[in-house]
Subunit: 143 residues, 2 copies
Amino acid sequence: MSDPTEDQLVALGTAFETFARRYKLADALRSERPLAELDKAVLLYVAEHAGCGPTDVARFLGVPTTTLSSATDRLAKRGFLKRERIEADRRAVALTLSEAGAAYAQAQVETYRRMYMLMLSRLSPDERDRFIAMITKIVYNDG
Amino acid sequence: MSDPTEDQLVALGTAFETFARRYKLADALRSERPLAELDKAVLLYVAEHAGCGPTDVARFLGVPTTTLSSATDRLAKRGFLKRERIEADRRAVALTLSEAGAAYAQAQVETYRRMYMLMLSRLSPDERDRFIAMITKIVYNDG
DNA sequence: GAAGATATAACGAAGTTCGGACTATTCAAC
DNA sequence: GTTGAATAGTCCGAACTTCGTTATATCTTC
């Protein structure tokens, strides 16, 4: 199988670049004091992994545990996150979202969802499946 | 034309999420003291728009001019960027990359290029064109 | 040539990241 | 069971980034 052509690489690059920039600009429009990028990532992770520990999150996101500690501090202070010592291992802390945190995470997910919706809307129904199949192949290499 | 299905939205979302995370982790592996995200963006913009002014860059990237000033400071200090007062309007400054800056920008571009190459390599030659056509349609809505 | 607009830089406050030191537990081995 | 190493998490402080306010120099326009 031959290599991708130069034109293809350039086209993909400019598309990505444009997309990323637009996405960033759109993101900046939100009115509340925005959570730090890291904090949002933490929130979404904990939403999916209730009861996990800070170390899990840090490893998943690829940041030092001290950095993650700052993030959980901020989130706890804003009332988005609860930290509870657990019985099984009293060194450990179990992270869970508060109601407000869950709401924020949900809103975040909704925002993404709307964006995906918009993106897919520009394709025909047939194309949508094909596009997703291809991007899945690219990301997971499971073709 | 009907709406995208829930499954499609979820599939696209997880693919993106995985991709973004992997990309971030890979990026963190680089050994030099990394430039700030903004600084990299500035470098790439100036690479494409030699002689442009700070205000242009700030507007393009959607950051306050003062923030951009910090960025150009850092880049100039590291010897990546030259700032020269221009004759035509002596308030204005023309930004150009130094040789080192151009090299850095080039390396950055190379990194992206390799990533795109890897991505497209996972598709068959036929799929590549179709994928790019679709993503172009999505991003530019010019279908 | 005075008033106002424009391009940029200097300064400083607020916030983020992360290395190093520290505490509290648990585990392992004797 | 006590000692020593490993583990989970936090606190502190230095370095850095962002961005609002303010200052400076230079056009522009009437």
